[in-house]
Every structure is written in structure tokens, then in C-alpha cells.
């Protein structure tokens, strides 16, 4: 069963396979894009925390698919797909503010924090992750090639701003998430006909999560 999200086909001649976790950036971009991305170990503790505590509230994607995408061994030298990376950063930011996480979670953070105990290092602050998500969203054609991760990135940006009580950006990003969902036909039963069952169910959950959130 392939329940990973398939990436948009537009730039695919250069993608080597369609498993999201293994999605490749075109080779000539690889070095610079990889260099510009944080190591995925930075996100792992927040993803784990999300799955443990927040997944019942936002039951989107499949737990194992997210972890697989993050943990597959040969990946570290390849950059993650921009939309997935953007999603990871937004998810981490939202998790931190929603759960009110106040200390470093990852080794990376601890490393950064060493010497300054008790002070929250920049690397694990929600603002840092939001900036990272926004900075990298234009690394791909995030509008033209919007996928489920794009919707989820906007959604978690909404969750971040909502939790810090900035309602304007919060509503903006929720509308953006809904806009992407509509443009991808998530509300249209006919658009589901050709999808495999896992994708159908995953998209339905995403649609209904947006429905509930909008109310």
C-alpha cells in the first residue's frame, strides 16, 4: 500500500521517485538546497510530540508515513521536498505554541543551548520555525505545485498564529489552506474517483478538518 503523498507531476522529470520521503530535488539544486535546510533531526522531536499529543486533534496524514519520510536512512544528504520541509517547519512551530513547549527538545537544541542553561535557544523557538517555513515556501513553486503538504503548511501556520492570538494572519492562513484545498478539488467527490483508497481517505480527513476548523 502506498499511502505517501504523491508529488505534483509538473517538475517531475527530475524527481527520481514518487515516494514523498525520498523526493529529490533536481541534482543541480541539490547541494545548495540541502545546505540551506536544517538537519531533519531538528524536527524529529517536534514531530514525535505532535504524533503523541496532537494527532488526535489533527488526525491528518498517517503517523508512520510522516516518520518514514523523516527517518529513511539515505536521506540526510538529499534535501527534503520543499513542500514537505515547509510543512515540517510549520508543524513544529504550531506544536510548540499549542502545547506551550518551553524548553529545548532535540539534541540539536541542547547543543545550541549548552552554556546557556535555562535560556531558550533561537533554534527551537516557534518563531524560528515559522520563519523557516515562510523562508522556504518559495523554494518550490508552492502555488503552482501545491500538494497536501502545502495545504497542511498553511493550516499549521494558521494554528501557530491562532495560538499566539494574532487573528489576522491566522485567518489569512486558514483561508489560504482552504483555497489550496478547493483548487485541488478536495471538496469535489468526483475528484476522488481516480484516487486510491488511502489517498481518498487521507484527503477526506483533511477536508473535514478544514471544515471543522472554519466553524
Amino acid at each position: 500500500m502506498n499511502d505517501s503523498i504523491r508529488l505534483p507531476a509538473a517538475n517531475t522529470p527530475i524527481f527520481q521517485d514518487d515516494d514523498l520521503g525520498e523526493a529529490r530535488i533536481p541534482a543541480r539544486m541539490e547541494t545548495s538546497a540541502a545546505a540551506a535546510q536544517l538537519p531533519r533531526s531538528v524536527f524529529l522531536p517536534y514531530v514525535e510530540l505532535f504524533l503523541e499529543r496532537l494527532y488526535p486533534v489533527f488526525p491528518v496524514l498517517e503517523r508512520h508515513a510522516i516518520l518514514t519520510a523523516l527517518q529513511d536512512p539515505p536521506l540526510e544528504r538529499h534535501p527534503l521536498h520543499p513542500s514537505f520541509y515547509c510543512f515540517l517547519a510549520a508543524l513544529s512551530a504550531a506544536t510548540i505554541v499549542q502545547l506551550n513547549v518551553t524548553g529545548p527538545l532535540s539534541d540539536f537544541d541542547t547543543h545550541q543551548a549548552s552554556g546557556a542553561p535555562g535560556i531558550m535557544p533561537l533554534s527551537c523557538s516557534a518563531e524560528f520555525f515559522v520563519a523557516e517555513s515562510l523562508r522556504t515556501r518559495h523554494d518550490g513553486d508552492f502555488i503552482g505545485c501545491a500538494d497536501e503538504y502545502t495545504i497542511l503548511s498553511s493550516f499549521f501556520l494558521f494554528a501557530y498564529y491562532g495560538n499566539i492570538e494574532q487573528s489576522r494572519p491566522a485567518w489569512y492562513y486558514l483561508r489560504e489552506a482552504i483555497g489550496f484545498a478547493l483548487s485541488m478539488g478536495l471538496d469535489d467527490p468526483e475528484a476522488y474517483l481516480l484516487l486510491d483508497t488511502a489517498t481518498q481517505q487521507r484527503r477526506r480527513r483533511l477536508f473535514w478538518l478544514l471544515f471543522v476548523t472554519e466553524r
Partner: protein, 161 residues
């Protein structure tokens, strides 16, 4: 978004229990339909469109009706605590909104008719709803663990009237 789509199927997922909880929550929110929203908009300050004036009385009585709470207590016990909290609190929150709409609606009818004796409430029972709702919410929250409460972040705080 309109409820244009089939709900996710519980037993086709890898985590049926979780999806069951999610679907239950979605069903609570589906009560917020067009009639509800137009009544809500008409009630906002400055709204001039009172064409839907008749709706709050009839349709929302159903939302206020406690005996209609489904699913049964037994199946609710199976739902993940974090989700259960969301479902139950959302239900009470909607009730509070409905109650407020009905109250203001009653007040408008009274001022329009100029009749002081025009009842504020559509039913006598309406007067008791705020107490019932508060009691329910307190009950729900005190029966929950802090961890499950925290998972809802600001959303849960915002539902406070």
C-alpha cells in the same frame, strides 16, 4: 466549505478508534449549517438582513435537546480522551451560541412588537440552559486530564463565553 463530501470511513483507516472520534466531532460541527450561519450573521451588530428571523426558534431546538446526544455514553467512553473532550465541549459551546441567538431573537421580537409581555424565551426551559451548560462544561473539564486539555491549545480557551 460546504459539507459536500462523504465522511472518512472509520474501518478503512489504520486507526479506526481515532477516526471514529474525529468523525464524531465532524458530525457535531455539521449542525452548524446554512440556517445556523444565516441566523448567526443576522444577529451580528449592524446586520440588516432579518429575513431568517423565524429560523432560530424551530431548527435550533434540536441542538438544545440533550436527549439527542449521540453517540451513546458507551461508545463515547471508547473515544480518545483528547477527542472526547473536544466533542463534548464543542457541543456545549454550540448550545451556548444557540441559547444566545434565541435570547436575542426573543428580545428583538419583543421590542418590535412593543409588547412587554411578549415572552423572551421560546420555551420556559430556555431559561435553564445557561446553568445546564455551565454545569456540563465543568463536569467535562474536571473529569479530564490536564494533558488532554492542553492539547487543544487556544481553541479550548476561546470557547469560554
Amino acid at each position: 466549505l460546504r459539507p459536500s463530501l462523504e465522511l472518512p470511513r472509520v474501518f478503512e483507516s489504520s486507526e479506526p478508534r481515532l477516526i471514529y472520534g474525529f468523525v464524531t466531532l465532524v458530525k457535531v460541527f455539521r449542525a452548524v449549517d446554512e440556517a445556523f450561519l444565516s441566523a448567526w450573521r443576522a444577529d451580528q451588530p449592524g446586520a440588516r438582513d432579518y429575513s431568517d428571523e423565524s429560523t432560530p426558534a424551530s431548527m435550533m431546538a434540536q441542538l438544545l435537546n440533550y436527549s439527542q446526544d449521540g453517540p451513546g455514553a458507551l461508545s463515547m467512553a471508547e473515544v480518545d480522551e483528547t477527542q472526547r473532550l473536544d466533542i463534548l465541549v464543542t457541543r456545549e459551546w454550540l448550545r451556548a451560541l444557540v441559547w444566545r441567538l434565541r435570547l436575542r431573537h426573543g428580545a428583538r421580537l419583543r421590542s418590535r412588537s412593543g409588547n412587554e409581555n411578549q415572552p423572551l424565551f421560546h420555551q420556559d426551559a430556555d431559561a435553564h440552559h445557561p446553568f445546564q451548560i455551565s454545569r456540563n462544561v465543568l463536569g467535562i473539564i474536571s473529569a479530564s486530564h490536564r494533558v488532554s486539555l492542553e492539547a487543544h491549545g487556544i481553541g479550548m480557551v476561546r470557547k469560554a463565553p
